[in-house]
Each structure stands twice: as structure tokens, then as C-alpha cells.
Symmetry: C2
Subunit: 218 residues, 2 copies
């Protein structure tokens, strides 16, 4: 299809598509004649993913670039590819890069409080979760733990076991959903899109549930 | 205490405290002499709340002002005050204001898709949640539903029942936590802080759980 049709079907303006191509977020089209470039379903799918990452996930263009780079260099295992993409996705969070296994501090997280990191490790152990030392969500959780302590909400941390059970329960269906399509590319894309959209949905549902629980107690 | 001690105990720089006071986020101190203003524990607590809203919750100063305005004009019921504060908190989300009961579109959400709103209503009914029509999280969830549809992830919406159960499970302990202190002010503040910090924790735990679930399947 020509860029005009790609724009219409994706809902993304032509100059924006050209910008995404220049930034490496969307692959270049196939030049069929001197003045004609063709785009296919792959481009349409990639545009949807990029919109989800930038608009729903509010990632920076730099982080989104790292995420799509994983898609362009997939692992032979679907789960491994998905894992790499998930790690890249978290690059946009503050305090996203945890201390390395070699003891060096992560680039964006020089001040992750060691007591909070220990608290996260203990939680993962208690629930029997096997999670790599470099999963950026470790540092993200440690930052939330440290924030709760600093804000005088240390007792809230006792709720984290319930949170972990709830998170595991949704992660099980998330992984099923991601693995349902036939191709590896699609699996990874679905996982990425649903990771960011599902975060939004969970946040909204938690706030709705706060009201539903409060109403019951009135 | 003097502003210097307040700064030290809160970890917030003096010019920043003065800025918060000017913006109405923190109440003015008590002028005890011509050149001396005194601050108390109330100011310290309020500073922690403001930091949580701005830094962890990434709210705008305008939204944070609306949230603290609720604290300064509390309802006689703790749960109602908490509800008002929670509604104000969501003001910072895109598409936060739902269509009015009179059929007019909400100010910040002229394009919330009616099919997505119906989907949210059905979900709340199915789970027996009583939630006011103006709870801004309704529009937030509808926006996430619409995004999933637009991004080709309509089948992900079947997972929302599991998400709702998980959200209810954490909301129950959240409300307990918020109601544990003796005073209404503190209850509302704890609820606000933990709403934003808990969102971060849940997002991180979900990503950690994705890896734990994937590892089990390898």
C-alpha cells in the first residue's frame, strides 16, 4: 500500500509516519519505482505498536527504539524474545536500571536503597518467583518500597504479599494471551502492547474497586 | 519549627517549600514574630503528601492543588472525604472527565468511545461494584479498553474479569490500611499516597510476575 493508505488505516498522519521511519521505529518501505514506496501489513502492525508505546505507555522515542530493536533481532525462543522486549520496555521508568551483577550501580538508578532491594528479594523468594537479577522491574519495585518508607507508609509494605498474589494471577492470563498467536513477532508485540495498556486498566480498576469496597463499608 | 528544620526533616529544599506555600499546596506557617514563621507536624505531613503526588504520582501542580483542597475542606465521613480526594487525584489522567449524565461530553474526554463506556458499565455490573457515574476511573478504564480495541487486542478484554478480581483483592487491604489511623486527615492522606505508590508497586510486580510465569513454562 502507499503511505496515504497506511496513514488512513493506522490513523497516524503521514509526516508522523515519516518521522517514525527516520527514527528507526518503523522499517522503511519497499521502493518499487523511483517515486513510489510500498508498505505492507508489517508496517501497519508496527505503527500500532509504536502508537501504543508512545501514547499509552508514554515511553520516550529513545526507549521505544530500544524496544523495537529487540523485535528486529528476535531470539529463537518466544519467551526469551518477550523477556528481552519487556526489559527494554522498562527503560523508560525512573530508577529502571538495577545494580549490575558485578556490583556496579545501574546507570539510571544510582540511589536505589539497599534495604528496599533486600525487601524485594525477600518478597520474590517468599513467593517462589524466579526472576533474573537484571529485570528492571526489581528496581522499579524497590523504588516504590523506598518511596512508601520515606512517605511514612512503611506499614503499607505488609500489603505487598497480597499485591504479589494479585499480580501473579493477572500475569498468568497475560502470558497465555501473548502466546496465543502463531508467530513470534506477533507474540512479542501483543505482550508489549498489553503490558502498557494492562497497566492503565489495572490502575483504573483499582480505583474503581476502592469505591466499591468503601460503599460496602458505609 | 523554623523553615530550615522543616526542610531538613522533609528533605525538601527551602525555596521549594516556599513555592508550595505560594501555590497553596502547603498551608502558610504561623507568624510568631515580625521575622519568624513557625511550622508544625501538619506542614511536615503535608509536604510528604505533596512530594508523593508530584514525584511518585507525577501529578501536575494544578491537579495536586485540587487534591489538597479536598483535604482542607473535609466531609464529615472519612469514606466520603477519601472518595472526593480520590476523584480529584484522577484529574491528571487523560480522558479523566467522563460524559455527563445530561449527555454532554466531559471536558477532557470529548472522544471516549460509547462502546467502551458500555463495556466498563457491564464489567462493574457483573462484579456487583457500586461506583458513582462520575468516578473518573470509569473514563480511564474506558480509554484503556478503547486503546486495546484500536491496537488489535480486543481479545485481551476478556482478561478484564481476572483483572477486576485482582483489583478488588488489593482494594480491600488498601481501604483497611487507609482507615487504620485515628484521624480523618491522616486517613485521606494515607489513601492518596498509597494510591499513587501502590500503582507503581503493582505495575512492577506484574512485570516481575510475567517473568516468573514465563520461566515456569520454559
Amino acid at each position: 500500500m502507499r503511505i496515504g493508505e497506511l496513514s488512513e488505516r493506522s490513523g497516524v498522519a503521514i509526516p508522523t509516519i515519516k518521522y517514525y521511519v527516520r527514527e528507526g521505529l518503523v522499517p522503511t518501505g519497499l521502493r518499487t519505482k523511483a517515486n513510489q514506496v510500498d508498505y505492507g501489513e508489517t508496517h501497519l502492525r508496527r505503527l500500532r505498536l509504536v502508537r501504543a508505546l508512545l501514547e499509552v505507555g508514554e515511553l520516550s522515542v529513545a526507549t521505544a527504539s530500544r524496544v523495537v530493536a529487540v523485535l528486529d533481532d528476535p531470539d529463537e525462543s518466544a519467551l526469551r524474545s518477550m523477556g528481552k522486549a519487556a526489559y527494554a520496555l522498562a527503560g523508560g521508568f525512573p530508577a529502571a536500571v538495577p545494580a549490575g551483577a558485578d556490583g556496579t550501580a545501574g546507570a539510571s538508578a544510582p540511589d536505589v536503597d539497599p534495604a528496599s532491594v533486600t525487601r524485594v528479594d525477600d518478597l520474590l523468594d517468599r513467593h517462589g518467583w524466579t526472576v533474573g537479577p537484571n529485570n528492571p522491574a526489581r528496581a522499579q519495585l524497590a523504588a516504590a518500597v523506598a518511596a512508601a518508607e520515606a512517605l511514612g507508609l512503611g506499614d503499607a509494605l505488609e500489603l505487598l504479599d497480597r499485591y504479589a498474589e494479585a499480580a501473579y494471577s493477572v500475569a498468568e492470563v497475560d502470558v497465555e494471551l501473548a502466546l496465543s498467536p502463531a508467530t513470534l513477532d506477533e507474540s512479542t508485540e501483543r505482550m508489549l502492547v498489553w503490558t502498557v495498556v494492562g497497566d492503565r486498566a489495572m490502575s483504573a480498576l483499582r480505583r474503581l474497586a476502592h469505591e466499591a469496597v468503601a460503599v460496602k463499608r458505609m
